[in-house]
């Protein structure tokens, strides 16, 4: 039995479709992250699971029961909000127990026991008597998480819970959330726009765009075998380079003469298409000064425009024909703007995307990860109304 199942769930606000037929299954104990740019429908999806938004179309199940019209309080879910949503006039402890106290038949002693346990787990035992105004951002978010813990729900819903924290605290809380989930094993749906959070926290990550899920897969697989160009460019920092190429037999060729071989039989270009988009990650391109590089396959000359030292690596922006290509190389490598360089693309780490639909049509064989093939969920919402492809 799945913990949460969305089947072609759609949300329309008057004439705007916020969520467009999304299908997802969350396994019990799983940590699923919904990630995507602003306005992609990830928060709306979460709010539909919580019951704070109605479902316009499709079916939503929690714990095997259809909950489309069920009140939020009867769904056995607890939510953590971005702005913490703490009651300013209540102490941290009261904030943690208020909801559970108001709605459920839980004895005082049980409540305070749960609050104490939650506080201990989150390291806020000493703060229980304080009001939110006397707490820092991180402490407030801990109290908000503590409130969800006290409820002991079957599902945690988290709506960008770390977005209001500063960078350092965010990383710390991220680790704490991960270990908390490991301890509790409670099914969690987590919304964020931050791909690092998504990659580090999620058992699986659903990349959302424009109201539908582009790909639902474990983090590494998203990175290694992105199902669409959108996923390829969204996941990974710096973003994957994508530029148009021509398909010629067993190779793709760029205007500048860059030629990348394609493993025979792997390509799934539909029909007689001879144009596609080549995707290569910045770290999968080698950069070398023009004079000591030998020309060969997968190479092209380019001009350095900007260099960005990132400490652990150097990001070099190059002009390759009409394209700007980002290359990640070893730190302290000496490249100057204006310098002519030779770029070598790692053919074993390249991807091809359909220029029309953006769907991946080819991943170099070496990009495969384990048996991930059968775990990949490709949401079919790219073509709405094409009939719900059943997702495991």
């Amino acid at each position: 039995m799945t913990a949460i199942e969305l089947d072609s769930v759609t949300k329309r606000f008057e004439d705007v479709t916020a969520v467009d037929g999304i299908s997802l299954a969350v396994e019990p104990g799983e940590f699923l992250v919904l990630v995507g740019p602003s306005g992609c429908g990830k928060s709306t999806t979460l709010r539909m699971i919580a019951g704070l938004e109605t479902v316009s179309d499709g079916s939503l199940e929690i714990g095997g029961e259809r909950v489309n019209g069920v009140e939020p309080k009867d769904r056995d879910v607890a939510m953590v909000f971005q702005n913490y949503a703490l009651f300013p006039h209540m102490t941290a402890e009261r904030n943690m127990t208020f909801g559970a106290d108001a709605a459920r038949d839980i004895s005082e002693s049980e409540l305070s026991k749960r609050a104490a346990e939650g506080a201990e787990m989150l390291g806020i035992e000493d703060l229980l008597d304080r009001k939110p105004a006397a707490l820092s951002g991180g402490e407030r978010q801990r109290v908000a998480i503590g409130r969800a813990l006290v409820r002991e729900p079957s599902v945690f819903l988290m709506d960008e819970p770390l977005s209001n924290l500063d960078a350092k605290l965010r990383i710390q809380m991220r680790t704490e959330l991960a270990s908390l989930h490991r301890r509790l094993q409670t099914t969690t749906v987590y919304v964020t726009h931050d791909q690092t959070e998504a990659m580090t926290l999620g058992d699986r990550v659903a990349v959302m765009n424009d109201g539908h899920a582009e790909q639902v897969a474990p983090p590494q697989e998203l990175y290694d075998r992105p199902a669409t160009r959108f996923v390829a460019e969204f996941i990974g920092e710096p973003a994957m380079n994508v530029f148009p190429v021509e398909v010629r037999g067993d190779a793709v060729v760029h205007d500048t003469g860059l030629e990348v071989p394609i493993a025979a039989g792997e390509m799934a270009l539909k029909g007689d298409i001879d144009a596609a988009d080549l995707g290569v990650r910045p770290e999968d391109i080698d950069i070398a000064p023009l004079d000591d590089a030998s020309a060969g396959t997968c190479t092209a000359t380019a001009e350095v425009t900007v260099t960005e030292p990132l400490g652990d690596s150097l990001l070099v922006h190059c002009q390759l024909g009409d394209e700007t290509v980002q290359v990640s190389t070893t730190p302290r490598a000496a490249f100057d703007p204006g310098e002519r360089v030779v770029l070598t693309v790692d053919a074993d780490r390249s991807h091809l995307f359909d220029r029309e639909t953006g769907e991946a049509v080819y991943h170099a064989p070496n990009t495969a990860v384990g048996s991930s093939e059968d775990r990949t969920q490709r949401a079919d919402a790219v073509a709405p109304g094409a009939g719900g492809e059943e997702i495991q």
Binding site: G51, L52, A85, P88
Partner: protein, 286 residues
């Protein structure tokens, strides 16, 4: 206020002394002008009738105790003050409770024609009690409420202003707080009592002050609907003092003593709760 203002202007005092002088002078004049009626009333309440009719006599007289005692007990002002106090408290409690419930419904419930209903509530601002006096009097007579506490409090319980203020305040409370409560299954009344009321304390205090002063100052409606002098309120009580005369001369000392007594209660309330009142109107200064 004038004293506080001087601290602001004093920065430039060394440069433009004449300027600040003018500012201070005009402030003093305007304060004296505004305070004059009150000060005169205070002064006259200590004088005998003869001293008052001697217009140039501005020295405090020795009849304060006599005037106040007579107003309070001989002319029953003490009873009227108690009546007014009870009336005002009932109006405050009733108005605040009803308006909180109305604002709760308007902000947190979805029902058809919600905005139209709110607009209709606001429309009642166009029909204050004095405009409705005749039909209201008939209604009170039909209900058998005439000459009772119900008659002088009931018509004041509904308030568009208070509903509006509470609505605006509720709208400023983050929706995630409401959603948290919904997810936890906190009932509406519980939410109102445990969350909204504590979070609206300042606003409630502000509305209470305004309402208290407003109710305290009601004159026309109690005058019409209450015929039993025992049940009358203080503002009407003052007019009773007017009928007292000494050798054909109105006893202004007595009337002024009554007026000072009548305004002292709302003054105390106002001073005690001036901070939330200013917050209500977002006028709080640093």
């Amino acid at each position: 206020m004038a004293v506080e203002d001087s601290s602001i202007t004093s920065e430039s005092a060394t440069v433009g002394l004449p300027d600040t002088l003018w500012v201070h002078l005009s402030l003093v004049v305007s304060i004296v002008l505004m305070g004059a009626p009150l000060l005169l009333a205070l002064l006259m309440s200590t004088q005998s009738t003869a001293q008052i009719y001697d217009v140039t006599n501005l020295a405090p007289g020795g009849h304060a105790l006599e005037n106040y005692q007579s107003a309070l007990f001989e002319y029953d002002l003490a009873r009227y003050i108690v009546n007014s106090f009870v009336m005002s408290i009932i109006v405050v409690v009733g108005k605040v409770s009803l308006s909180l419930l109305a604002a709760l419904a308007i902000v947190y419930y979805d029902f058809p024609y919600k905005d139209a209903i709110f607009a209709f509530v606001l429309l009642t601002l166009l029909l204050p009690v004095p405009v409705r006096i005749v039909p209201l009097f008939e209604l009170m007579a039909d209900l058998g409420w005439a000459n009772s506490m119900l008659a002088i409090t009931g018509p004041y319980i509904a308030s568009a202003t208070a509903v509006f203020l509470f609505r605006q305040h509720f709208l400023s409370i983050p929706s995630s707080l409401v959603e948290t409560a919904r997810l936890d299954g906190v009932g509406p009344i519980e939410f109102l009592v445990d969350v909204l009321v504590p979070m609206s304390r300042g606003m409630i205090a502000g509305v209470s002050v305004i309402t208290f002063v407003y109710a305290w100052n009601q004159y026309l409606w109690p005058l019409i609907v209450v015929s039993d002098q025992q049940k009358q309120v203080v503002q009407v009580g003052i007019s009773y003092l007017q009928s007292a005369s000494q050798a054909g001369q109105t006893q202004w000392g007595l009337i002024m003593a009554g007026s000072i007594l009548a305004l002292s209660v709302p003054l105390v309330v106002l001073v005690a709760l001036h901070r939330p009142l200013l917050e209500t109107f977002a006028l709080q200064q640093k």
